[in-house]
């Protein structure tokens, strides 16, 4: 069945280092992907997105990479800060389906060590 998963449930990084969070997706037809950040007690917050016609997209301190060949998505956070500590979810959808129903992974907890 369709699924979105993450390789690492918890990632600990030193403050100032770069973080890489990985995600595998199974639906090769998915054409739109989003990374969300969820802090404790809050709803998920949009970080960055990428469409299937791209392989890289950069934001402020974040970069998303998409490898359609192996159906892999990654989120890179540069110079990780304490405020980056949260759970990160990748989500996929088939935009042409019209409903934009997203499939979310179980999440990776990022812990930033001082």
């Amino acid at each position: 069945g369709e699924s979105v998963g993450l390789h690492l449930p918890t990632l600990s990084v030193q403050e100032g280092d770069n973080s890489i969070i990985n995600c595998a997706y199974s639906n090769s037809a998915s054409d739109y992907f989003i990374w969300y950040k969820q802090e404790s007690g809050k709803g998920p917050q949009f970080i960055i997105d990428i469409r299937s016609n791209m392989d890289k997209r950069q934001g402020q301190r974040v970069t998303v990479l998409l490898n359609k060949t192996v159906k892999h998505l990654s989120l890179q956070i540069a110079a990780t800060q304490p405020g980056d500590s949260a759970v990160y979810f990748c989500a996929e959808t088939l935009g042409t389906s019209g409903t934009y129903k997203y499939i979310f992974g179980t999440g990776t907890r990022l812990k930033v060590l001082a």
Binding site: G43, D49, T99, Y100, K101
Partner: protein, 114 residues
């Protein structure tokens, strides 16, 4: 409003009771989604509204779950005869373009069934 508002933020109910969870989407957002997040799990799709109609309710776990949306705005998720397995955070999200470019999530309602 400025964001998606959900109420109550926390709800403790006895097994067998009915509960109603409310979502106020961002003004003007035509698409509204309900997701469920169990402890340590990803987000599970429940139902999608476009206006007042629900083209996709495939994620509702059982007939104890129902949802409605009125005036193209406020939505209510009702769970009848609650069970302990219903305990989770129920998240509502809205979007101006059927979820294109992602959703804006509310902070959720934490439901605990005792």
């Amino acid at each position: 409003g400025a964001g998606v508002s959900q109420s109550p933020s926390n709800k403790v109910t006895e097994k067998g009771k009915d509960v109603e969870l409310r979502c106020d989407p961002i003004s003007g957002h035509t698409a509204l989604y309900w997701y469920r997040q169990s402890l340590g799990q990803g987000l599970e799709f429940l139902i999608y509204f476009q206006g007042n109609s629900a083209p996709d309710k495939s994620g509702l776990p059982s007939d104890r779950f129902s949802a409605e949306r009125t005036g193209g705005s406020v939505s209510t998720l009702t769970i009848q005869r609650t069970q302990q397995e219903d305990s989770a955070v129920y998240l509502c999200a809205s979007s101006s373009r059927q979820g294109a470019y992602g959703y804006t999530f509310g902070s959720g309602t934490r439901l605990t069934v005792v």
